[in-house]
């Protein structure tokens, strides 16, 4: 855990430092100094501006999105009792993205009152609702016979994801809204549009998720034995299930609303944590949050550096890291997740 926090700190500093305007690590304190004390020269002033208006919100968003997606993945794996569940893979992210895209596209029409009412929070809230709907459909479809069928879950998830993705594409294609013209945000994910406005929009979600997680760990641990066993152990099964679904949807919704669909982080990070620290959710959830944030910011650095001065959509970088690990998992454990 200490190592994870250190990695987080180093990656954050690198993320603040690397970019079109290089700010050396040594220059960081000066830039901060300029911001706090208004000290230093013109270069410090310029650095300070870049840092505050571009790098800091982007890094904060990266940390949040990575943490939220990793935690959402860990929770879904607990809920479905299978280490292969991931919000990106089973369509939850696509459902959230569809809701977000629809909100923007209808911004001047049907969704106008919604946007007016919730301001910065309208988009994350819509994506959150999309996430809840998709997760609930999955639980209903895959849990019809009392037990969650992992095969049904994955196939239904793929179908729902494809459908939601196609609808998002259709809306974006038909829309002349400038926010939608850049389709890559929603299909491949990107942190490029980071702003303080977005950071503000997801802050309440981050707080709620942080409050929810400690209350979920026992239930999720019990769930790993099965729903009946969880009940025998004193867990209110239906309430816990709903709580997990809502929290997962909040994580995914908020993340998708600001960064689009980014896959694999929800599989790779919890898997890595379980390898090191075991499957106890008291450790898996917080550790996934820290390592997920680190990995996302790291991937974002790569996205900015690899084709400098342009940048890659972060989803491509994550897929390049995540897909091989996912394949390895499938080959090692079989699709049922059993040993």
């Amino acid at each position: 855990m200490i190592a994870a926090w250190c990695a987080l700190a180093v990656t954050t500093l690198l993320s603040l430092s690397i970019g079109a305007t290089g700010i050396t690590l040594a220059a960081l304190p000066q830039a901060v100094g300029h911001w706090v004390f208004n000290s230093g020269d013109a270069e410090a002033a310029r650095h300070s501006l870049v840092l505050l208006e571009i790098r800091l919100p982007r890094t904060l968003l990266g940390l949040f999105v990575g943490s939220a997606l990793a935690v959402a993945g860990a929770m879904m794996q607990g809920l479905f009792r299978n280490p292969l569940a991931d919000p990106g893979l089973v369509g939850v992210s696509s459902g959230a993205a569809l809701a977000a895209v629809a909100t923007i596209a209808l911004g001047n029409g049907l969704a106008a009152p919604w946007l007016a009412a919730f301001g910065n929070y309208a988009l994350p809230l819509a994506a959150f609702a999309g996430g809840i709907v998709t997760t609930s459909i999955l639980v209903i479809v895959a849990g019809r016979h009392g037990q969650l069928m992992i095969g049904t879950l994955l196939l239904a998830g793929i179908a729902i994801g494809a459908l939601a993705g196609a609808l998002s594409g259709l809306i974006a294609y038909a829309s002349d809204d400038r926010e939608l013209r850049d389709l890559t945000l929603w299909t491949l994910g990107s942190l490029a549009g980071a702003s303080w406005q977005k950071v503000l929009g997801i802050t309440p979600f981050a707080i709620l998720i942080a409050i929810a997680i400690p209350r979920l760990v026992r239930g999720l641990n019990g769930f790993l034995l099965g729903e009946a066993e969880a009940f025998h152990l004193g867990i209110n099964v239906e309430a816990t299930k709903r709580f997990v679904i809502v929290t997962t949807a909040a994580c995914v919704g908020a993340a998708v609303a600001v960064a689009g669909v980014i896959g694999f982080i929800g599989i790779v990070v919890p898997h890595f944590v379980r390898l090191i620290a075991g499957p106890d959710h008291r450790i898996v959830l917080p550790a996934s949050a820290v390592i997920g944030g680190t990995l996302m910011v790291f991937a974002d650095i790569l996205a900015r550096m690899l084709v400098h001065p342009a940048e890659l959509p972060i989803g491509i970088v994550m897929a390049a890291i995540g897909a091989p690990i996912f394949l390895h998992l499938v080959l090692k454990r079989g699709i049922g997740g059993a040993e």
Binding site: R81, N82, P83, R218, G219, N221, G222, L224, L225, G226, A228, E229, F231, H232, L233, G234, I235, N236, V237, R274, G278, P279, D280, R333, G336, G337, A338, E339
Partner: protein, 266 residues
């Protein structure tokens, strides 16, 4: 006292459990026997609260079972299911400690840790604490879940008038002879302290050895119940199991046992 009164359970128009009344008293081990599909597991699930009866009542100390919260029930009774699937690589002691995690009882304390190790000892798994559950054999896994149930009840709140309740669905199905005896001996030891215990067993001789009360089920109904000598009758068992059997009494120990009569044509 845990009892069912005229309990029935139907699913899709099929009656699985048909107006069954059983009473589980403190200090007694009741054993359900009967052929496959007799409704034994369903009756047990009705008694755990996992299933709600279609009609009739399940009562715990005179109050409807479903008036208790999951948490209150878990402090009082533990269940070992027929099969439990766990594909995440927990260590053995972590699985046992899941039994001590009843919500509201806080983090595993030193007392709970000690209880977990004692429970492992009781099922013959001392030294297995740090092994990975996923690497164990079927019989070892079954004993881990037995230890989890024992741990759950040894850490809950204790009240003289509310003895712990153990509900076991074929707890010995994967065990070798020695461990069958060991596990049921541990159950008996607790029954002697006033616990309530119910087990489904397929091995009639094991059932006869350990049960205070035998409950013979067939086609969703209780066909006979009582002491071993009341239930172990050639005609009754032969009819229920649709297989001719002879009951005997051991000359050495006076214990009753059953042998199937193998038809000549086989």
């Amino acid at each position: 006292m845990l009892e069912s009164k005229d309990v029935s359970y139907q699913v899709k128009g099929r009656t699985i459990v048909d107006r069954i009344s059983v009473a589980l008293a403190p200090g007694r081990l009741s054993v359900i026997i009967g052929p496959n599909g007799a409704g034994k597991s369903t009756l047990l699930k009705l008694l755990t609260g996992e299933l709600r009866p279609s009609s009739g009542h399940v009562l715990l100390d005179g109050a409807e079972l479903n008036s208790f919260s999951a948490q209150a029930l878990a402090a009082r009774r533990a269940v070992v299911a027929q099969s439990t699937h766990l594909s995440f690589p927990f260590s053995v002691i972590e699985v046992v400690l899941l039994g001590a995690m009843v919500p509201g009882f806080g983090e595993p304390t030193a007392i709970k840790q000690a209880a977990a190790y004692r429970a492992l000892d009781d099922v013959g798994l001392s030294g297995f604490a740090d092994r990975l559950y996923t690497h164990l054999s079927g019989g070892e896994r079954q004993r881990v879940h037995m230890a989890r149930a024992l741990c759950q009840l040894s850490t809950g709140a204790r009240d003289r008038n509310a003895p712990p309740i153990l509900l076991l669905d074929e707890p010995t199905s994967n065990l070798d002879l020695m461990h069958q005896i060991k596990v049921l001996h541990e159950v008996r030891r607790r029954v002697a302290q006033g616990w309530i215990a119910l087990a489904i067993l397929h091995d009639l001789n094991l059932a006869a050895t350990f049960a205070d009360t035998l409950i013979l089920m067939s086609q969703g109904r209780v066909v006979a119940s009582g002491a071993v000598e009341e239930v172990f009758r050639d005609d009754l068992l032969s009819a229920v199991y649709r297989c001719p059997v002879e009951t005997n009494i051991s000359e050495k120990t006076g214990r009753r046992f059953v042998l199937p009569t193998i038809p000549q044509s086989l």
